[in-house]
């Protein structure tokens, strides 16, 4: 309860906006707008335009003696290449769950991180992985093969040399 004489204004009453306050309001709003815009501008910087990662296309030559259905992993790559009578294919070894590298096993592939298992064609048979391991684009090129980790193909697609 505040006690005051009738007709006087209290410091608790809201102050009316005087005409000269328009100037103050304008500066306030312009500052807010500038802040917002510059925030957007500054947030744009951390999103890279070009990714500084290793090339995704590379040439591979399969060992002559690679038995049918045995995996071959090019050094330094998370990819398994296979060969059988119909041709060659490549399966990505990056787990579709949370990105660990899966290991080829007798029954297909298994992930060490949360126990996802994949069949020989990459389809999920157990665990939390939401998607099959993708098949990567392979093209025959001058006796070897060109693998493109950036492009996927339908499972079952093979390339003959």
């Amino acid at each position: 309860m505040t006690i005051r004489a009738a007709g006087t204004r209290s410091r608790l009453d809201p102050e009316p906006v005087a005409r000269r306050d328009v100037l103050g309001l304008a500066s306030l709003l312009s500052a807010a707008a500038a802040l917002l815009l510059s925030a957007f501008g500054m947030l744009r910087l951390p999103k890279p335009g070009v990714l500084a990662s290793a090339g995704k296309k590379y040439r591979v030559s399969l060992p002559e003696a690679l038995p049918a259905g045995e995996p071959y992993t090019p050094p330094g790559r998370a990819v398994a290449l296979f060969r059988d009578a119909q041709g060659v294919w490549a399966v990505s070894l990056v787990c579709t769950h949370l990105g660990c590298i899966v290991r080829p096993s007798a029954q297909g592939f298994e992930c060490p991180c949360h126990g996802s298992r994949f069949g020989p064609d990459g389809s999920v048979i157990k665990g939390p992985a939401p998607k099959a391991l993708p098949w990567l684009k392979v093209t025959a090129s001058g006796g070897g093969f060109l693998v493109d980790e950036g492009a996927t193909v339908a499972p079952g697609t093979r390339v003959s040399s």
């Binding site: 309860m1 505040t2 608790l12 951390p46 999103k47 890279p48 990714l51 500084a52 990662s53 330094g76 790559r77 998370a78 769950h97 949370l98 990105g99 660990c100 590298i101 298994e110 992930c111 060490p112 991180c113 949360h114 126990g115 389809s123 999920v124 048979i125 157990k126 665990g127 939390p128 939401p130 998607k131």
Partner: protein
């Protein structure tokens, strides 16, 4: 003659002042003198920019050690320790892949005291996570978040998130196998909204997950860009934001009238010891508060002197004691156990099992059912629920007291029982029988994302709490049930993730049963 005299007097004065200078420098810095009288003690506190975060006098209820268990102060103490040791580590640490690993190795094996400092940093970080979690639980179980402290609860939640973010970003910096794979998993959790957008087929034009991961890593793999980002966050952005919010947090504790206490606290405290210096010697039976006058409230008339004691020494010495205890614990842990350093990061061979730091292993356990739900969905839901607590529970009963309110300690115990049983049952079922994917490999992913052990457990907890809310006809009772259940879920999943998961995330009763490689 006259000139000569004045000159020598100035010389005399110069010599005198020089002799007095050290004492005067001290006096000008600490103007209050020795804190021997009540007045000097007050000056000692509010005349010092660092100490004046404290009130001049504290209520005796706040000083009982059972009120806070010193947990907030312990968290702040651990934060201080990480700051000091972290700056020391920065003398040698170099945030570039492989070089980073070598610099940590140098710190560990070559730099004088390097290993000890690194250990303290690691342990103090762990102690900080533990104490902040316990502090939150104490604030919850004493219902200290209620009006006018709602907003400080929110500030506290932000501090909790920042604490965990600091722990997470720091974990990558050694660039060893442990670090690399924990962060790979973490970054892919950031990307996990794709589990949902992929299932709905909209990822090509709406991909918040991909954007989050890109912003976090600055690239499409964990590499040099990711390391410098994590470094920047860990040594600069997060500590600065945390320190600023900490100032807000402390300031609000004061502005909200000190710590929460029951309305009848004064009656329940034992009488003041006889040798206590009274607050008002001339007994003007009313107290003015500047804040009260600004807000147009009348001064408190007839309330009498409050049941308070001077902060210096009562509060400050108690804080110092808690600080020393934390220092002691961190030093003892650092002498007993070295911070781990595995082999250098190898992007082609995951650590097996790849485990995040222990406080994220509960989440990792949930993630092993669904990346999105376990990693983002449920944690965000829990955070939202925590944030809403003070705005949903507007009751009065039991504020400032342990397990007071409706249901009391019995309700907390009952909820703990249910929370424990539910999480053990769900985990045991999933470990024994597997889940949808094993039974129906063709099942749509959306089904697995929505219905999995993690979401079912959350649902069970929510239903139980609703039932409690209706039975006790109290929102606070429902909140106690939910909070307790989640606490149990967190503890049990963390224990399972830490001690019972082996290679390929398979359940083992003991690490001795792990298959040899």
């Amino acid at each position: 003659m006259n000139r000569q005299l004045t000159a020598s007097r100035a010389l005399q004065e110069f010599r005198n002042n020089l002799r007095q200078a050290p004492r005067r420098i001290l006096e000008s810095a600490f103007r209050s003198g020795r804190p021997v009288s009540d007045r000097a003690r007050a000056l000692f506190v509010f005349g010092n920019v660092f100490l004046h975060l404290h009130p001049v006098r504290v209520h005796r209820w706040s000083l009982r050690w059972t009120t806070t268990l010193g947990l907030g102060v312990a968290g702040a103490a651990a934060f201080l320790l990480t700051l000091v040791t972290g700056v020391l580590l920065m003398f040698y640490y170099k945030p570039y892949p492989d070089v980073a690993y070598q610099s940590i190795k140098d710190l560990h094996f070559v730099v004088p005291t390097g290993r000890f400092i690194r250990n303290i940093h690691r342990w103090a970080g762990n102690v900080m996570v533990v104490t902040v979690l316990l502090h939150m639980a104490r604030v919850f179980y004493t219902a200290a978040y209620r009006k006018p402290r709602e907003f400080n609860w929110l500030v506290g939640l932000a501090l909790l998130v920042l604490t965990l973010a600091l722990a997470f970003t720091g974990y990558l910096l050694p660039w060893d196998q442990l670090a690399y794979w924990a962060i790979t998993i973490g970054a892919n959790i950031a990307q996990s909204p794709r589990e949902l957008t992929d299932a709905l087929g909209i990822t090509s034009w709406f991909d918040p997950g991909g954007l989050q991961r890109l912003l976090l890593l600055g690239s499409d793999t964990v590499g040099a860009e990711a390391l410098i980002r994590f470094y920047l966050l860990h040594v600069m952005i997060l500590p600065l934001v945390l320190a600023a919010l900490l100032a807000v947090h402390f300031w609000r504790v004061r502005k909200d009238g000190g710590l929460a206490r029951p309305p009848d606290a004064d009656r329940r405290l034992p009488p003041l010891p006889g040798n206590t210096y009274p607050v008002f010697t001339e007994a003007p039976q009313k107290t003015y508060q500047v804040v009260a006058i600004v807000r147009g409230r009348t001064p408190v008339v007839g309330a009498g002197p409050e049941n308070t004691l001077p902060s210096m020494p009562h509060l400050l010495y108690a804080e110092l004691a808690v600080f020393m205890l934390v220092v002691f614990i961190c030093l003892a842990l650092s002498l007993a156990w070295d911070a781990p350093l595995k082999e250098i990061a190898n992007p082609l061979v995951p650590e097996n099992p790849a485990k995040a730091p222990w406080y994220f292993l509960g989440i990792q356990e949930l993630v092993s059912y669904s990346a999105f739900m376990g990693g983002l969905g449920i944690p965000l839901l829990a955070l939202l629920g925590l944030g809403l607590i003070p705005y949903l529970d507007r009751e009065q009963e039991g504020t400032g007291e342990w397990f007071a309110g409706p249901g009391g300690a019995r309700l907390a115990g009952l909820s703990a029982l249910f929370g424990f049983a539910a999480v053990v049952a769900v985990e045991a079922f999933a470990i024994r029988f597997g889940w949808i994917r094993e039974w129906f490999p063709e099942a749509p992913q959306l089904l697995v994302t929505l219905i999995n052990p993690a979401t079912l457990l959350t649902l069970a907890y929510a239903l139980f709490s609703l039932w409690i809310l209706r039975r006790y006809d109290s929102v606070r009772a429902g909140a106690v049930a939910l909070f307790t259940c989640f606490l149990c879920g967190f503890v049990v999943t963390t224990v399972i993730g830490t001690f019972f998961r082996g290679p390929n995330w398979v359940f083992y009763w003991s690490a001795a049963d792990w298959p040899a490689h």
